[in-house]
Symmetry: C2
Subunit: 388 residues, 2 copies
């Protein structure tokens, strides 16, 4: 049953091989000072940087740069970005990169005109912005987080061993996003498949929760089937436009708030993964992959009916002559096989986690209440140990 | 493969039993003169009119009325509405009703400040508005058209025997829509199931086109399965909130432009149905139901692979030991059985069409090019005859 909700998603998307034409349609809407935000410089090698700067120049913009956004953007980097945006008197923050760069751009956008410490205000107290927000646009070069069409922004505080996401309201959503699947072709395989599993996890964490019948679950089964079909094609041939474009579009809709409307959601896998990220700085999608199977196998008995539905409708498991437990387990086995076939990291050891770090990981893990089982610290430790 | 597209849908939705609270959040954003548009007066019997007027008064609005919008809104009514909106100096047009009332409100909204004849400008020449557009809000009382979150607006010209839809851009989309599933409970069964089939047709006309692999097809399979599951529950118990809320949400997403992005779409069933509507004034969803099976059985050989996929993924047809043609036909047989079980009108005779009207219907039918077969006039006549 769909509960009460308000839905609005104002982000304008330009999708396809010609998506960059959208940038020149959008830029004239904003003032002349543009803060160009990007990561480690791969966009200079693959030509995307040149295309973006050419569009900015063509539209008469003054370009200020904020490079070096890391995969897990830190509080220290956020402070630096705020200073740069202030110095530039930025009228627009243009994020060119993956989810980390987009997340970071949003964090800067709500902090430029804010006197308070942003980590405390947004990531500890989860307050909404009370100041002017600098508009953000995105040119996406990596697929997974959905940050291109939502208010999500994850920041890491290594001193406090915390990696926390704030889901801001629509006024913080990117005003526009440029989605050219070809821009994702040169991404290394490790990052590509980590992004694919991030998408999978976004859908599953909204799907594997609640016991009601609702439209969103059917839509998510479709998204999962599309992803399961396209991901191996992309792994085999990263320049397969059909597969990459489908995955890009699935990623956007997996986390643009649509499928969560009116229903329960879990997000405990993200909390477990983010704890790992805070302690190891590992790639986000891999932290999710490494903890998922132990987590889902642990909570499966508490949400058995939905796990059976998942096995049948998503993985095509045949019901006949089996117990519900056997059907659900077979679905999870097929999921694990699919994950292994893509080459995902299936254990925490490979990400640098050791047994003696588990107490610290447990302390860094937020406990969510929307899943089939609200975990105790002992259960969290048990799942981490099973993930080693 | 997903082609190039731009996607933006700015409509704000308030959904659920408490959705009317959204109206009082939205009204203060607009000026004081509100043109309240509605249909035959059922909203006065079921109490919705009183709730809406109370909210308008509470927000200090001057209320002007434009009642009597018919199920297939006419050009003559549109002229009348434009005069009323001008006299009221309307700052907001508030549509309370089903898709016809919303469609009509949009037609008025783009015509109030326009000097040209709206029928000619928008429905014959398909031009975009070049004048100020009066904002539109919707309170939905019937589910099906998706008009609450798109730019669609269908107007009927009986003199010319034409019923034509213009799909306007985002600036004509409703600014907000109030979606309370309970507001649909008192709708007579005939209108309710006609709306259900309108949803089905919207999804199918976007799904049964194209030969590529794309995410939208998977999402639509999910929507279809949800609708196929929920519709019989709603027919048996129209006050089943779970079923009605799922159907309402499916209807919105079936035609808010999402699932059409980057892919081919057909819409010939709507063209056939709208021709019937122009000649008979029959209920929209029933005109679609009456022509669908002959149409789909006729085009099935031209899009066989997709019809096989439809049979398997949506209707659960078992592939083993059957030809593709047999699988596809079995899917359509199951679809027909489902339609009959709901009580839909399955022939044009019941809607008042006679053999000697077919030449006229053919002349009123627009020919679309996105489906599996571009129909000749002879084929259109053949499908109409098979639908009698």
């Amino acid at each position: 049953m769909l509960g009460n909700f308000t839905y609005c998603n104002p982000t304008r998307l330009y999708f396809g091989k010609e998506a960059m034409q959208g940038l020149e349609k959008e830029l004239p809407k904003y003032g002349e000072n543009v803060l160009l935000v990007y990561g480690g410089g791969s966009i200079k090698k693959n030509g995307i940087y040149d295309q973006v700067v050419a569009a900015l120049k063509a539209c008469g913009k003054k370009v200020f740069e904020d490079a070096g956004v890391m995969p897990n953007p830190t509080v220290e980097k956020l402070h630096e970005g705020v200073e740069r945006a202030r110095a530039a008197k930025a009228d627009l923050i243009l994020a060119v990169g993956g989810g980390s760069v987009c997340d970071y751009a949003k964090a800067v956008s709500v902090s430029v005109h804010c006197d308070e410490e942003p980590w405390e205000k947004y990531y500890i107290r989860f307050e909404e912005p009370t100041c002017e927000i600098v508009p953000v646009g995105c040119v996406l070069t990596m697929v997974g987080t959905g940050s291109e069409m939502n208010g999500g922004s994850v920041i890491t505080n290594h001193a406090q061993k915390l990696k926390i996401g704030h889901v801001f309201g629509t006024e913080v959503f990117p005003k526009f996003s440029i989605l050219n699947p070809e821009f994702t072709f040169t991404l290394p395989k490790y990052q590509m498949i980590a992004g694919f599993y991030d998408i999978m996890s976004h859908i599953l964490e909204q799907y594997l929760s609640g016991t009601d019948d609702n439209t969103s679950d059917y839509i998510m089964e479709g998204m999962l089937r599309s992803l399961i079909h396209s991901a191996p094609i992309a792994v085999k041939d990263p320049t397969n436009y059909e597969a990459r474009s489908n995955i890009m579009w699935t990623a956007t809709w997996a986390l643009n708030t649509l499928v969560a409307m009116g229903k329960d959601t879990d997000w405990e896998v993200h909390m477990l993964g983010q704890a790992v990220g805070a302690h190891t700085d590992a790639t986000h999608g891999m932290t999710l992959a490494a903890v998922s199977m132990p987590y889902y196998r642990y909570i499966m008995p508490y949400g058995l009916a939905k796990f059976v539905r998942y096995a049948v409708n998503v993985w095509g498991v045949d019901l006949s002559g089996k117990t519900d437990e056997a059907v659900a387990a077979e679905g999870l086995d097929r999921m694990e096989a699919w994950m292994r076939s893509l080459g995902l990291v299936m254990n925490l050891t490979e990400l640098g986690v050791k047994e003696d770090m588990i107490d610290g990981l447990v302390k860094s893990t937020l406990v969510m209440e929307g899943g089939y089982k609200v975990l105790t610290p002992e259960e969290i430790a048990q799942i981490f140990r099973a993930s080693l």
